[in-house]
Symmetry: C2
Subunit: 334 residues, 2 copies
Amino acid sequence: MVKIKDVAAEAGVSVATVSRALNGHSTVDPALAARVTAAAERLGYRPNAIARGLRRQKTDVLALIISDVSNPFYTAVARGVEDVAQANGYSVLLCNADEDAEKEARYLRVAEVEQVAGVILSPHNAATDVSRLRSSGVPLVVVDRPLTDPVDSVMVRSIDGARAATRHLLDEGWLRPACITGPADAATALDRLAGYRLGLADGNVSREQFVHARFSQEGGLAATTELLDGDDAPDSFMVGNAQMALGVIAELKRRGIRIGYDAGIVTFDDAPWAPYIDPPITVVAQPAYEIGTRAAGLLLDRIGGAERGGAREVVLSAELLVRESSRRTASPHH
Amino acid sequence: MVKIKDVAAEAGVSVATVSRALNGHSTVDPALAARVTAAAERLGYRPNAIARGLRRQKTDVLALIISDVSNPFYTAVARGVEDVAQANGYSVLLCNADEDAEKEARYLRVAEVEQVAGVILSPHNAATDVSRLRSSGVPLVVVDRPLTDPVDSVMVRSIDGARAATRHLLDEGWLRPACITGPADAATALDRLAGYRLGLADGNVSREQFVHARFSQEGGLAATTELLDGDDAPDSFMVGNAQMALGVIAELKRRGIRIGYDAGIVTFDDAPWAPYIDPPITVVAQPAYEIGTRAAGLLLDRIGGAERGGAREVVLSAELLVRESSRRTASPHH
DNA sequence: ATGAAAGCGCTAACAG
DNA sequence: CTGTTAGCGCTTTCAT
């Protein structure tokens, strides 16, 4: 390994000068700086990020801990984070907590011991313990799901989205919409349920019906089965996320229930496949990429030393994208 | 920050003993070890991974550089890597090269300067430069796509999969299968094309037709348009990956061409949505999760000091999963 | 079995 | 503007 000392020898200067030159500390004679750069180049020198991190007590990496890598929503968030991090000279360590509180805790610990410059987290639930991280002074911003602790966050107005989606179902003439949402301890799941209720109220319908399930295909499928096998089967569904929706669709198709004709569906998240399903799926699209860029912005800001002021919260809007799956007037597709 | 020195003071021993005790270096008196553990616990001590990394000249993190986070194939690989890494005490830094040679180079550099214990890479193309990494002695294993340099790898027999898929199309009675594959500089794209040709030969058909496109929805869509607008339009498609397939499907639907009736489709990768599209999509499923676990295994092995022997290569098989989209006998779905 | 002490490669005072 | 030097927190000889 070629180290700063070697470069110093090669360039005929001191290690301090090499460090300064390589870090662009203006106070270096241009001629010397050039000599140093050349020497470093010649030797194939690469600064040792570990040593630098130890000395500076911080690294140039951000940790992004997401709930589920296979959820397109989160990968879109990740893209947003990555793009702005990259642009500001940070790398991002992407961690997949996998909707598992234990894995999440482990990554939080890793973030702490690796002395990352900051972390962006979509908490498993509001009770996620970030106290250690905070007491270590690591800047944190949460996305998608809130924490009980006050902390910078970027959220989306899920409630409004769910409400609009439910109202839309009613407007299309569906009479018995049900809500399939996430686990009862997930704030987003609760928000979506709350929005569903509001939408029902808007349409003056008092019949409500919902089930909590895991945010996965299997969860959506099981919920659908449960609902359809009950004695007051719904005629339409407001679904909590795209993966669940896949399960709902699977079960509906299995039973020969024609979407957009016999049953209506609206789901959260505009997954890449949503427009190509037959019929195309109506969705509540969340601005995932922007969530990422905004979160990274907030974080960089804190890292840059914005101590003053309490927790900042940015709230983005979701948008209802009407396609065919929610139409009652759609011609049958099977 | 509470450091090892504080723990030493608290426990009334030397820092060396604390270090040894905390790292389980057997040569410590059990009683003392217990006292140290208790003290560390009481103080809320967390080892500083940076300092340890500097001293030991390596960290406990693995870098996994994938071509595209939004491709379900790679996220499945990531899961596999993560599971075995985790089980062995390593964290994994997931990096998204985004099919961009420059981003890939940047992450390779990051992996080097951060002194990761090893890297798993799906190279953008065979020319990807890993010489620096290798000369730094960082263990490397490549997945999915080969490198010209000899290096540990885990690949899948794409050719056989593509061949079987093409033959299957022919067997179903399709007469003019086309191949939509990835960029001409991607080995996987070439393999899939080669397999397609072999499949054609198996069926004694000489007419071949293929187009290279980006491994994305847009790529698939553009390729389909080009093919369909040509004067010898194909009646079926062997598609290079799931994201492209989404584009193909979109374009077919837009034109009112009924899949499984007017046209056949087989695509690489069993994306979660593939069975739920109407009609369900026939796929060549790659053992993505296993690719990840095997790659991590190879890597851990090297990290553990398996210097001897040249590059090891594990080759896995892909499996044709026949569903409806490739059937010619399927009843129309629209 | 335990402690003292020497660094790992780098940056940031502090001098000059 | 440049050089000398003291650590960052930890692991690991080398003594004891």
